[in-house]
């Protein structure tokens, strides 16, 4: 809070860096003994001096520093966070409690199996539950995030196709896809062929047919796509792809729209990843950690990464004995602590709760869409599922752009939606309210956007100069990129 005060007072606009406080010799750490390394243990030439520039603070100073920093952040528990494609739903506190049980948080990944039976049971259970939700046969929990899931999935595609003689060269990706899709394809040496979406915002079977051939390994499709629109042709598309020996990879980042409503496994999808930090409500943590499990149909199971959990005579075991496997994609077993939270979330909600979550996600998104459609241009008239997209077309004539609308929302106390994505729509404003927001919150948010639409007409400069009330004003991003300062420098401050 102090930062707010300081801002309005015009003093100390930003807090100090942790390196700019403290006093030489101070530490927030207490340990009873202080032995010294003997030269016969480690020769002096392998040792360093003190770490220059490291902070020297007491415990209170540390707590105060980070508490103050925290006050400069927006967060779900502070306010609505309608970021399209990000599924910023509420992260139940109970998950934080159970993830901190020492019987789960203090496990060593290389401990003998008898010491981790509970953990393996949990992981096995989560694999099964996720498979059931998606309609897939097997799941790997290893990938650390959605992008790593994509890479893992594409590696499996490649391994599978290679085993059948030809890994193929290309991957079809809709123009609405998230940037990780093409980036992951590159990692797997696939060349990206972009498939244009039509004027209804979706991919048409006939467009796929045109580009599908025996050099295409498959299609990476997001469903519902990043407009929040259900890919109507998906089953027909799957047929086309399958017929030519390709596979359907689904980017399941938007699974929050589908739980209990439609299973990817029934759509012809051969494999998909899920973002547990979206649909399964693990907190985003300012950028992670998340988890990106991959679900596959039975015919792909031999290609799943190792290790895999198997049921042995004396309990669960870990096996690497899968010669066709794509191998290991990260150390140990994935982001276990995140998997624990997702497990806890799924058993909390159960079948009905998961289905209701998706239904309310859809209800909220459609409500936002219907109330805002008079005020903001809607690029596609297709019904939306869990998120909806607008553009700045109506506001552009007053010189107001998406970025201005986004920044002005900050003044109203709301986090902006995702902007300028998907790239195919100019000035996109993508809103995903999620199911955990109340209608009253949606109304307040919608009212703010309507009010901004009015301001855009009546006082565009007010909008264009926003935000006016944040701890810092609009930041000079060009300068940051040109004059790269990526770290604090001791010499700068101390005159050393």
């Amino acid at each position: 809070m102090s930062e707010c005060f300081q801002k309005s007072k015009g003093q100390l606009p930003t807090p100090q860096l942790i390196f700019e406080t403290g006093s030489a010799g101070r530490s927030g750490f207490f340990w009873p003994d202080n032995p010294k390394t003997k030269p016969e243990w480690i020769p002096a030439r392998f040792l360093r001096d003190d770490i220059p520039g490291f902070p020297e603070l007491g415990e209170l100073e540390v707590m105060r520093h980070f508490t103050r920093l925290s006050h400069l952040n927006y967060s779900i528990e502070g306010q609505f966070y309608p970021l399209g494609s990000c599924t910023m739903k509420y992260n139940p506190k109970i998950n934080e409690v159970v993830a901190r049980l020492t019987g789960l948080s203090l496990l060593h990944p290389l401990a003998p199996l008898p010491l981790i039976q509970g953990a393996l049971e949990l992981l096995r259970g989560l694999e099964r539950m996720l498979a059931e939700i998606c309609g897939m046969d097997h799941v790997t929990l290893q990938p650390a995030a959605g992008a790593q899931g994509e890479m893992t999935g594409l590696m499996m595609v490649r391994a599978y196709l290679s085993a059948r003689g030809n890994p193929r060269r290309k991957i079809l990706i809709p123009d609405t896809a998230h940037g990780t899709n093409p980036a992951s394809s590159t990692l797997c040496s696939y060349e990206v062929v972009q498939v244009p979406s039509n004027d209804r915002g979706i991919i048409e079977a006939k467009k796929v047919k045109e580009v599908m051939d025996e050099e295409v390994a498959g299609l990476m499709i997001t469903n519902p796509n990043t407009f929040g629109i259900f890919e109507q042709d998906i089953q027909a598309i799957a047929e086309i792809i399958h017929e030519k020996g390709g596979l359907i990879y689904m980017d399941g980042a938007n699974l929050n729209a589908l739980m209990g409503i439609a299973k990817p496994g029934d759509m012809g999808v051969d494999l998909l990843h899920m973002n547990l930090h979206k649909t399964f409500s693990t907190p985003h943590g300012g950028g992670g950690p998340g988890a990106g499990p991959v679900g596959v149909k039975g015919f792909l199971q031999d290609y799943l990464p190792v290790p895999r959990i198997i049921q042995g005579a004396e309990g669960y075991e870990l096996s690497e004995d899968f010669p066709k496997s794509v191998g290991r994609v990260r150390s140990f077993f994935g982001n276990f602590g995140i998997l624990v939270r997702a497990y806890s979330y799924i058993i909390s909600l159960g079948s009905d709760g998961l289905e209701e979550a998706s239904r309310m996600a859809l209800l909220n998104a459609n409500y936002v869409r219907s109330r805002l459609k008079e005020h903001y241009h809607v690029p596609y008239s297709e019904p939306c599922l869990h998120e909806c997209v607008f553009t700045d077309r109506l506001q552009q004539k007053h010189g107001v752009h998406t970025i201005d609308i986004a920044k002005r929302l900050l003044d109203y106390g709301f986090h902006p939606p995702t902007i300028y994505f998907p790239l195919v729509v100019s000035g996109a404003i993508m809103i995903e309210p999620t199911e955990t927001e109340s209608p009253e919150t949606l109304d307040a948010f919608i009212d703010a956007l309507i009010s901004i639409a009015r301001e855009a007409k009546e006082s565009p400069s007010l909008v264009k100069s926003a935000p006016h009330t944040t701890p810092v004003g609009r930041l000079d991003e060009t300068r940051a990129a040109r004059n790269l300062i990526l770290r604090w420098n001791p010499s700068k401050e101390d005159g050393k």
Partner: protein
């Protein structure tokens, strides 16, 4: 329903505004063949009390250092975590915020990342650090990919056999589909170090980089000076991988040996073992490579009034801008874990980091000495080590089961990864091992 606030009348009202009469109408366009089979077959939802009981019963089936004698390292370490760490990362302003794409309302996260980058630069003595990667293994793979981008035309990647075996697997997985790349394994010397002679012989202009553990998987300190010299001669990058980040508080850091890229696993820096994740990988390098770095970077700038502020920068390297040409596909990283490390390093500070590292060295060496002297065991290698070491134990597996019956895990058997190291055990001793626990270890190894 759990976590959905909608009452029946809320639903009515929203449906009415939308102009449909049932929620099902909102997805009426989804093919009926899909709708029919969509029901999820899972048990009904549980109350918080039931969830807690279920999770506690799973937790009770596991063994932890709280109820087992515990000498496991090998890439994940049981270290002290000051209570400041969880107090900070539990703050919902940090834990429930998104990636800081809107800098005006994310200065908390952004400044913390900037501080993290600085701390990692200082710890590794490198010029720039990114905002973190998934884990040490994928960070190693990213480092190799990065070296490959910077070393166009070259194609051989040398991995030390003393590099963490899982990391070697992950690197292999990441490189498998890049057909022009060839992986070469560098053998070990008798002191448990990377074989310099082999390298000197094999390195040439075809080599992209050499990747070594520092300390390596056996806890041993390779001589980066000599290795770098060998690399430099042919313009090869030396990439160091540190699984035990705490060691860098005491060891001469990679930057001081002039390595090109230093990566590692940050779990030791304030993050619970958690079966190996989530923690984070880090990647630091020379400034001239900055545009090839994978992952996020935070930079300093100013706002319109000239006040200092922080933003994500050089985004043109990243997937959301550059798509198939990005330096990496990474998007969500391990943000909250890097915050934990930032709090950890800030709490310990200059004094505490050093002290903690020294305590580790002392306990591990004293234990090792006692095992040799009192229990008569043989050291497998004789290179200098940080807080873990390998010993040879006759009839290891038989002995291990005796340890189990006493609720002690004395270390990690190496044979599954190193058939040549049959009956060898990797023992890790940290500040968390109390004197009585060490006494017990020595005693049990002394018993015949």
């Amino acid at each position: 329903m759990r976590y959905t606030p909608h009452t029946a009348s809320d639903k009515e009202r929203l449906l009415h505004a939308i102009g449909v009469s049932r929620i099902d109408d909102l997805f009426g366009h989804i093919p009926p063949s899909l709708r029919e089979r969509a029901r999820i077959a899972l048990p009904p939802g549980l109350s918080e009390v039931e969830v807690k009981r279920r999770m506690a019963s799973l937790a009770a089936k596991n063994g932890t250092p709280e109820n087992w004698g515990f000498f496991l390292g090998g890439g994940i370490y049981h270290h002290v975590i000051p209570s400041t760490v969880d107090a900070v990362i539990s703050r919902s302003e940090f834990s429930t915020s998104y990636t800081p794409y809107q800098p005006e309302v994310s200065q908390g996260t952004l400044q913390a990342i900037y501080e993290f980058q600085t701390l990692m630069c200082e710890l590794t003595a490198m010029e720039v650090s990114n905002a973190g990667l998934y884990d040490g293994a994928s960070a190693s793979a990213e480092a190799v990919l990065m070296a490959r981008r910077l070393q166009k035309g070259r194609r051989r990647v040398f991995l030390s056999r003393a590099l963490h075996p899982q990391y070697r697997s992950v690197i292999a997985t990441y490189l498998k589909n890049l057909e022009e790349v060839e992986l070469v394994e560098v053998p070990l010397t008798g002191s448990g170090q990377t074989d310099l002679q082999y390298l000197t012989k094999e390195l040439d202009e075809r080599a992209i980089c050499v990747v070594v553990g520092y300390p390596n998987f056996f806890g041993i300190i390779d001589d980066l000076g000599l290795l770098h010299e060998a690399c430099e001669r042919c313009g090869v990058f030396l990439v160091t991988v540190t699984t035990e980040a705490l060691s860098l508080a005491l060891l001469r850091p990679p930057g001081a040996w002039e390595v090109e890229i230093a990566v590692g696993e940050g779990q030791s820096l304030g993050i619970p073992m958690s079966l190996g994740g989530p923690a984070f990988g880090y990647l630091a390098c020379r400034k001239k490579f900055v545009r090839s770095i994978p992952g996020r970077l935070v930079g300093e700038t100013v706002d319109h009034e000239g006040h200092r502020g922080f933003v994500l920068t050089l985004a043109a390297r990243e997937q959301h801008i550059r798509r198939e040409k990005a330096t990496s596909n990474i998007c969500t990283n391990q943000g909250l874990c890097t915050l934990a490390a930032t709090v950890f390093m800030s709490t310990l500070g200059k004094v505490g980091m050093r002290q903690l590292a020294e305590v580790n060295v002392a306990r591990a060496h004293e234990t090792s000495e006692r095992l040799l002297e009192e229990a008569g065991l043989t050291p497998t290698f004789n290179g200098p080590f940080f807080n873990e070491f390998v010993i040879s134990v006759q009839a290891l597996s038989e002995r291990l089961s005796r340890f189990t019956s006493k609720r002690v895990v004395p270390g990690i058997p190496l044979a599954p990864w190193y058939p040549e190291l049959q009956d060898c055990l990797l023992i890790c001793v940290t500040e968390m091992n109390e004197r009585e626990e060490i006494d017990q270890l020595v005693r049990m190894f002394s018993e015949e």
